[in-house]
Symmetry: C2
Subunit: 256 residues, 2 copies
C-alpha cells in the first residue's frame, strides 16, 4: 500500500524550526511534499496574491524531501502546491505549522498558519493547522511528537467533515506535563490594540501595532481555557461564515 501524500506549509517560512519538526514527524507516516513561504508571513490572514507575480523554487533544506519555497502567502503556497507542484495528484492531508505562537480564539482570523489549512479544506482535503503557544524563534518543540502524530494519523484514518479544518494549539514546553486533548470552541476573546507612535530619522510619524489579548469568555469548553489548563485544544473551523442565528433578526427587525 502506498504511503499517504501529506502536503506541508506554514507561515513562519521554510527555515523555521516549527516546520522542520512537522516535516520530521509527517515523514514517519506519509510521503511529504513541502511548499512554504520563503520568509515570514505571520498575520497574513487569508491573503492571496492577485495583483503581483509569484516565485516558486526548489530547496534542499530538508535533505531528500521534495520541498519548495514560495514568494507568496500560505494560501498561495497551497494553491501552487496542488496545481503546479503536484499537478493534481490527490493530497491525503494538508498540515500547516508548527506555528511559533498561539492561534487560539480570534487569532485564527489573522493566522497565516490556519489560512493554509483552511485552503486545504476548501479544496476538499482533510487539513490541520498546528501551533505551539510559544512565540520564540527558538521555541522547544520536543514535547509535541506524540500528539502531532496522533492527531495527524486520526485525520488520515477517519477524515474530517466537509468544510472543516482543525485548529490545534499546544501548550508550551515550560508548562507542566500536557494533560490531554480537548475538542473546543473558539473562545470569545480579542486583541485590544495600541499603537506605539514614533518619529523616523526624517521627522515623519510612523506606528508599530501592539496589542493586549483580553479574554472575556468564562466558559470551560473553549480553546483559551484548554490551553490555560494545559490541554491541547482542537477547534474544528469552518469557512462558511454564514451566521444563521442572525437571519431572524434581519427578517423580523429590519425593513428592507
Amino acid at each position: 500500500m502506498s504511503k499517504p501524500l501529506i502536503l506541508i506549509s506554514n507561515d513562519d517560512g521554510v527555515t523555521s524550526s516549527g516546520i522542520r519538526k512537522l516535516v520530521e514527524l509527517m515523514s514517519q507516516i506519509g510521503e511529504v511534499v513541502v511548499v512554504a513561504p520563503d520568509g515570514p508571513q505571520s498575520g497574513m490572514g487569508h491573503a492571496i496574491t492577485v495583483g503581483d507575480t509569484l516565485r516558486l523554487s526548489r530547496t534542499d533544506i530538508f535533505g531528500g524531501i521534495q520541498a519548495y519555497k514560495c514568494s507568496g502567502t500560505p494560501a498561495d503556497c497551497i494553491k501552487l502546491a496542488k496545481h503546479e507542484v503536484l499537478k493534481g495528484r490527490k493530497v491525503d492531508l494538508v498540515v500547516s505549522g508548527i506555528n511559533h505562537g498561539s492561534n487560539t480564539s480570534i487569532s485564527v482570523l489573522y493566522s497565516g498558519t490556519m489560512s493554509a489549512a483552511i485552503e486545504g479544506a476548501i479544496e476538499g482535503t482533510p487539513a490541520i493547522g498546528f501551533s505551539l503557544c510559544d512565540f520564540s524563534w527558538h521555541a522547544d518543540f520536543s514535547h509535541v511528537d506524540e500528539y502531532v502524530l496522533k492527531i495527524a494519523s486520526q485525520a488520515l484514518k477517519n477524515g474530517l467533515p466537509e468544510g472543516i479544518a482543525l485548529n490545534v494549539n499546544i501548550p508550551p514546553k515550560q508548562n507542566e506535563d500536557i494533560k490531554g486533548v480537548k475538542i473546543a470552541r473558539q473562545a470569545n476573546a480579542r486583541w485590544e490594540e495600541e499603537f506605539d507612535k514614533r518619529k523616523d530619522p526624517h521627522g515623519r510619524d510612523y506606528y508599530w501595532m501592539i496589542g493586549n489579548f483580553v479574554n472575556h469568555d468564562k466558559g470551560e469548553d473553549n480553546d483559551e481555557w484548554a490551553i490555560a489548563n494545559n490541554y491541547i485544544s482542537i477547534v474544528p473551523c469552518q469557512f462558511d461564515l454564514t451566521g444563521h442565528h442572525a437571519f431572524s433578526h434581519l427578517n423580523e427587525k429590519w425593513d428592507l
Copy 2:
C-alpha cells in the same frame, strides 16, 4: 441630536470611485471619518501588519471630510482609526467598500473589504461591507444609492446581533433593474485556480494566479443565486469559525 459617527474604509484604496460613492452617501446620514489604504489591498483577507511599521496621513481628497490614507491593510485601517484617529470615540457604524468586484460565496475569505467590516464587528460595532459585482475601475455605481442608504440606515436604527457583519453584494449596473434584497447564506462555491507560468527577462520562472469560479450550489437561498437573479444579497457573516457540527464526528469517530 448629534449625527451618528460612521467610519469608512475599503480595500481598493482611498482614490477608488467606490469609496467616493460611499463617502457621498454616508455623509447624508452621519458624520463621516475615512481611514483607507493608500493603495490597492485586494485579496488581503484578514491580514494585519505585525512585522512592519504603519504610516497614516491626512488627505483632503474628500474636501471637508476628515480622511486619512494608511500604508496598512483594511483591518489595520480600522484598528488605527479607532485608536489613533478617533481616540476611543464611539463609532456607530463601520462601512467598507464599495468594492470594485463581487465578494460573494468563498470570496468573502479573501476579501479585504469584508475584513474591514469584520474588524468593526470584532470591536462590537455594527458593520457592513458593500461590493458591486463589477470589477472595472470605472464601474458605474449610479444605481446603488437607494439600497446602500437603506441598508446602512437600518443598521444604524436596528443594530446587528453580536459577532455579525453584513456582506452586501450588488448586481452590476448593466443588468436589468434590481428586483430587491435577499437575506442569503454564503454559497458553496469556490475558485479553481490555474497558474500562468512565464519567464522573466532574466530567464527565471514566475507565475500569475488566475482562477475560474465554480458554483456547485444548487440552492436558491444563497448569495450567488441572489446575484444571478438580480437581487442584492445580504449575508450575515460571523467571525466565530467554530464548526459545531463537527464535534460529534470528532468525539465519536476519533480516538485521541
